[in-house]
Symmetry: C2
Subunit: 251 residues, 2 copies
């Protein structure tokens, strides 16, 4: 029942090689991934004690992971009232998308100049995995990989502050998709991703930026940020006010 995460029970202290070693990194990554894959719905309460129980660590570690997520606006940390998965409003969603367009444009231009052959190869590999995930029906993994693609592209641009900002924006975008995605859920982003890499590899900055902007348009068009009228949406809109957690189903 409460032992789904057995592998984590043991103290994972392989810190010499620096392979995502510390415990709070692991906890952070797991919660982050759960949100990215939409296994944790917006508004879900994240109890420190419960998470500590699940991951087999004390509240200290959980608290640090939540703090980090809060700094990326992925969870909301309310004083004396605990943490919940953030529920971006329509206005917040618009702001995130505005910033993303700005950042993606800069990243694309920089990537054309700085991306190495190895990085482009890794990007292609990620797109293949993304495509495979969607084709075998694993939508959660697909969305996560799609986000990681944009993060990886930021790394290829070679600008550390942009990478940090992009991480935050990608996470929030995933939340927004979880909250506002319309019926048409055909995530064909991998095709656009591949074309984008082609343009970058060809050194065609203008074409690459154009493709990226269209890609942003497509993501945007899949959301219904304009309406927000149906009862379901109302529920989502007010979820940050609800006391009761959505009780995320454990896989």
């Amino acid at each position: 029942m409460n032992e789904q995460l057995q592998p984590l029970k043991k103290p994972v202290r392989a810190n010499k090689a620096g392979r995502s070693g510390t415990q709070d990194d692991i906890v952070y990554a797991h919660i982050f991934e759960a949100i990215l894959e939409q296994r944790l719905a917006p508004g879900t309460k994240l109890s420190e004690e419960a998470l500590g129980e699940i991951f087999g660590v004390s509240r200290t570690i959980i608290r640090r992971a939540l703090s980090r997520l809060a700094h990326e606006s992925v969870v909301l940390l309310r004083p004396n009232r605990g943490a919940v998965v953030a529920s971006p409003s329509v206005e917040e969603a618009r702001q995130v998308f505005f910033s993303r367009r700005m950042v993606e444009r800069a990243i694309t231009e920089l990537a054309v100049q700085h991306a190495t052959a190895e990085q482009l190869s890794e990007l292609r590999q990620m797109v293949r995995e993304e495509r495979d995930s969607f084709s075998r029906g694993d939508r959660g993994a697909g969305i996560r990989l799609s986000g990681e693609f944009h993060l990886k592209l930021a790394e290829a641009a070679g600008n550390a502050p942009l990478v940090s900002f992009q991480r935050s924006l990608v996470s929030q975008t995933s939340l927004i998709i979880a909250q506002y995605e319309s019926g048409n859920r055909s995530h064909c982003s991998y095709d656009e991703h591949m074309q984008l890499i082609d343009a970058i590899e060809a050194g065609d900055a203008q074409q690459a930026v154009s493709l990226m902007m269209h890609h942003m348009d497509h993501i945007d068009s899949k959301l219904n940020l304009d309406e927000e009228s149906a009862s379901d949406d109302l529920h989502a809109v007010f979820s940050h006010l609800l006391k009761k957690p959505k009780a995320a189903a454990k896989g």
Copy 2:
């Protein structure tokens, strides 16, 4: 005895209820301000116990404040080796300035559209205080207010992710100025700030952006990022390799 945190000895304002915000907010703000005003030099070690002693709180609070500062790349958190004030390299400085140009451009355009009369009035007040600080020789407060001006302008733009990013960039810029400012230290930024507000208030986006870009150029030109030859700079360059914290090596 190695008292590395001498500069902080003075503000022992360990009031528990007086100031706004929680304790870790107060600690964060004080350290942040000390760095912004360059009372804490890059490379200075930030001992948890010493800071706890100074502020009259436990290491838990200090740790959280340092974690927050680390997330903004203002301090560097080395595992098992404590925190130091970050020492941006020339390359990191270039990346920060690239991002700042991008963000400031967007902020300026948005501010022309969204800034309210009240916000512009507050901005003017900040510029006046900045000018007064410089004119009475308080260079530290002047630099801090100059940074806060850019942060306030970001808030006037009305885009939350941009504000968050800008906060990180402004802090890092201050660090960079502390590390790389050339002999010509005439910070006449307040004049440019005032012209900028005029253009924004007039609704002249093109002029406002142009002024902002020139302002960025001026800040950039005051630094000697190209040379990095003096012994002081060499020291900064290798500070991340040094085991021993060279506290207060600033001349």
